[in-house]
């Protein structure tokens, strides 16, 4: 059953008819040609499809496109500033070789942007020792908060360093 769907994707309003069964990931990739979010496991286990959805990091494979009428999607490709400069997280991934093949990178970058926002907003994590104290961006905190993004090349040391730098905790 087809339904009309309007999304803002990386700043541009896009309207497309989608079958109700279409995931947000497939709507972006197959219907709108936005291939930045990647299909890894397609079951919410790898994080490679992560985007910023209505301001928060979000998987696109475990959600139906039709449930997101009117949503704002920012992919890793939409993170550049108005002047074309790379987002500090993107620059940090380059500076620290936070990837090898690059397939998981758009999801890692979006997730890292979300992690830094969440730490600024005071969200605690599983490894935060004191729930009453504001969290700090320690390496353990970064590892825990980025655990939803897998990298089969094993570029984790570079990813960790990149998030540390982008978070100003270098």
């Amino acid at each position: 059953m087809d339904v009309d769907l309007t999304l803002t994707v990386d700043g541009a309003e896009r309207t497309v008819a989608v079958d109700t069964r279409t995931t947000l990931l497939d709507a972006l990739r197959e219907r709108l040609g936005v291939t930045n979010p990647k299909k890894g496991c397609d079951h919410g286990q790898c994080g490679s499809c992560t985007v910023i959805l209505d301001g928060r990091r979000h998987l696109t494979c475990l959600t139906l496109a039709v449930a997101h009428e009117g949503a704002e999607v920012v992919t890793a490709g939409g993170l550049r500033g108005a002047d074309g400069a790379l987002h500090p997280v993107q620059q940090a991934f380059l500076d620290h070789d936070g990837f090898q093949c690059g397939y998981c990178t758009p999801g890692q970058v979006c997730s890292a942007v979300g992690v830094l926002d969440e730490v600024r907003a005071g969200h605690r994590s599983h490894v935060t020792e004191d729930l009453e104290a504001d969290p700090e961006l320690t390496d353990d905190e970064i590892r825990e908060r980025m655990s939803g993004n897998l990298c089969r090349c094993g570029a984790y040391p570079g990813i960790l360093a990149a998030v540390r730098q982008a978070g100003g905790a270098a």
Partner: protein
Amino acid sequence: MRDFAYHRADDAAGAVALVAADPDARFLGGGTNLVDHLKLGITSPGTLVDVSRLPLDQVEELPDGGLRVGTNVRNSDLAAHPAVRRDFPGVARALLAGASGQIRHQATTGGNLLQRTRCVYFQDVTTPCNKRDPGSGCSALEGYGRYNAVLGLSEACVTTHPSDLAVALAAADATVVVLGPEGERRIPLVDLHRLPGHHPERDTVLEHGDLITAVQLPASAVARNATYRKARDRASYAFALVSVAAGLELDGEVVRDVRIAWGGVAHKPWRALLAEEALRGAVLTEDAVREAASAELAAATVTAQTAYKVDMVRNLTALALTRLAEGTGR
């Protein structure tokens, strides 16, 4: 995947009426589990009624110090709420121990409780499974059984409930507010989920068309001095092998009140009432906790693959309660 109609609900009563009137309809919340099940062919509804935008997304602080949590409060927001961190740290810890940052933004309070087992055979439609296909048999009985239950299991089903949040809510004496076709009713969280018996296809006591609208948490000393500990195969982003939600109120060294609930051991969050009873009025020592846990675990049924869970849950319970007694365990 079977084609389905999609309705975005405007109000809770309308959503309940739509689903109740159509045996082929299902509620759609955050979707982290249901959308996966659609892909895997575990369920094939004809209609999805999307309740995820209903304005049931507030955490309300009640005059008596308790909380009323709307069903659409996302797991990340509930964990971050100051009143939850302060007065229900076990609940906050359980939420933060579950899933990933992305999934916690998507998953709802009610949906978390209604997620289904991650038993590999339930999720593999090519294998027999009484929960997915009643009467087909249980592949886990003689198959991969590392995650199987040790308490309250039946010949029909040996799986465990996967939620971390539900275990913490069981220890926090939470109540689930349910809207059904006949109106609203309240169900203690410990009575929401079922043991498998002969009908493992039924996870909960809810009827078709029943919608969880809120979870209520009563304030108490055992809820304030509480924690959640989870043992798993990797440090993060994995389901529990076993888990413990514990709350403790001491009078000197003597246990005035205590709450113990276990995850990863049964088809439902397992409130360890025998262990609690053994500890009330006793001096809290590690040995006393181990003895109390052993009393609860006397009923355990284990296999070579699950025997480790008995020791693991006893150890974890001892760790949780002795740290709470020291004032360092929240």
